[in-house]
């Protein structure tokens, strides 16, 4: 499967799961749908960025580091906008980025090389 597609699908699924777990926090349960949608969109954005990176850079280690960084930055932005829950949002958000970074490098298929002689 193409690296960007893997990034988008995995980012969306893990983002949605990430959002759903807010159900266990009674204080935010009323905004559950909004959180799930926001978290899914965040996952998709992370997936696209990590997928593009994986297409350019073919390195498992760099892919993981980049995924972790993207996950961290996006989660930090969400937590900053929420004015709280930093730890609860940043830690799993970074992990999602790390998993997507690993998966795009490990399971993604490189796009076919463009012909040099056109």
């Amino acid at each position: 499967m193409n690296k960007i597609l893997i990034g988008v699908l995995l980012g969306a699924v893990l983002g949605a799961v990430d959002g759903m777990t807010s159900w266990f926090t009674p204080a935010v349960r009323a905004q559950l749908v909004g959180i799930i949608i926001g978290s899914t969109v965040k996952g998709i954005i992370a997936g696209v960025a990590i997928g593009f990176f994986a297409r350019k850079v073919n390195s498992l280690a760099l892919g993981i580091v980049f995924g972790l960084a993207v996950g961290f930055v996006l989660a930090f932005l969400v937590a900053y906008l929420q004015h709280g829950y930093y730890f609860q949002i940043i830690l799993p958000g970074s992990l999602v980025g790390l998993i997507v970074g690993y998966a795009t490098q490990r399971y993604g298929v490189r796009a076919p090389a463009m012909s040099a002689a056109r």
Binding site: L14, T21, L91, P92, I99
Partner: protein, 344 residues
């Protein structure tokens, strides 16, 4: 009476047996190996200043049969231009009428010895896949090797694999003849006039494939080959030999190691057994299918030759995706801990 020592006798014998290479571009260096049909020497190509392997008949062959076979072997090699097949450089005759051909001098070890130094099964299987590539190429060119065994496979100093000793090879059809036509024409020009008895390729092939003649190596030879049914041989006979090589690679112990005696497991044994089935209809039907199966095993994917249980399938799935599974488990664990400690 004074007796000569064994060493002196050996030296004398080597001197008398050493071919006279005068009139050729080669200078003899040392004897490397002796085969059923002839001897292989290391020689120096004076013109190109490189070391070559020179294969030559033991004695002058007045009937022309053995000469024809040697020429045929060189021609077979000439049509098989592949990184996994030793390339032939030249053919000719010596002043004593002995036929010779030269090929790349491969510095390395035979698979017999090299396997003992390989400490991981994946490395051995990757090497096996390289052998399969070379054999598949030969089959695509209509050539059967008929004597595949670890002793006939050399592994060079950079890990390159070369299938050697095509002396028993059989040309099945005209497949690939057009492809190699130009090259063969050059070889023909070089040897025409020198070998009138072996000029006709079909005659030569006939000499080498008489019905009822058993040629090959026990343990690596298919049942139909052992039965002398030469006309019935096809690619599946080589697949039998490849299956035996796979078995050898999985079972050959590592030199000076007491920890691991064999890597043979059920799936690998099933692949090897299918390749070595008594009836060729039950074997893999071509080398590509066989190597795809080994490749699938190597990548942790399911194989057709072995029906695995649910537990085995789960174990294989875990081995193949262990890092991803562990990462997801860590994520879920972190999530569970956060829910437990920060729920409010």
């Amino acid at each position: 009476m004074t007796f000569l020592s064994d060493k002196a006798l050996q030296r004398l014998r080597a001197l008398t047996e050493a071919p006279d290479l005068s009139g050729t571009r080669y200078r003899l260096l040392e004897r490397v190996a002796r085969g059923g049909m002839g001897v292989v020497y290391a020689a120096q190509d004076v013109k190109l200043a490189r070391r070559v392997a020179l294969k030559i008949l033991d004695h002058p062959d007045h009937s022309g049969d053995l000469s024809g076979r040697l020429i045929r072997e060189a021609r077979v090699l000439a049509r098989l231009e592949h990184p996994g097949i030793v390339p032939v450089h030249d053919v000719g005759t010596l002043t004593d009428e002995r036929v010779f051909y030269t090929m790349k001098f491969v510095e390395g070890l035979s698979l017999d010895d090299y396997a003992k130094r390989m400490e991981s099964l994946p490395d051995r299987l990757r090497l096996f896949l390289q052998i399969c590539d070379a054999v598949a190429f030969a089959h695509a060119r209509g050539v059967l090797h008929r004597d595949l065994k670890p002793a006939n496979i050399m592994v060079g100093s950079f890990g390159e694999v070369l299938v050697m000793d095509w002396g028993l090879a059989k040309v099945l059809s005209d497949a690939g003849r057009d492809h190699a036509q130009n090259r063969n024409a050059i070889v023909s020009q070089a040897i025409d006039g020198e070998f009138s008895a072996s000029d006709n390729r079909e005659d030569v092939a006939h000499v080498a494939t008489n019905h009822g003649t058993v040629m090959g190596t026990p343990g690596y030879m298919s049942p139909e080959q052992a039965g002398g049914n030469v006309e019935a041989l096809d690619a599946r006979s080589d697949i039998f030999s490849l299956g035996a090589i796979l078995k050898f690679l999985a079972e050959a112990p590592v030199e000076n190691s007491v920890t691991k005696s064999s890597w043979m497991n059920k799936p690998l044994a099933a692949i090897s057994a299918k390749a070595m089935a008594a009836h060729r209809e039950d074997r893999y039907q071509n080398v590509s299918d066989f190597s795809a199966e080994v490749s699938n095993y190597l990548d942790g994917r399911p194989i057709k030759a072995y029906r695995e249980s649910f537990l085995e399938r789960s174990g294989r799935f875990y081995r193949r995706h262990n890092i991803a599974i562990l990462l997801i488990a860590v994520y879920l664990l972190v999530r569970a801990i956060l829910i437990l400690f920060f729920r409010r």
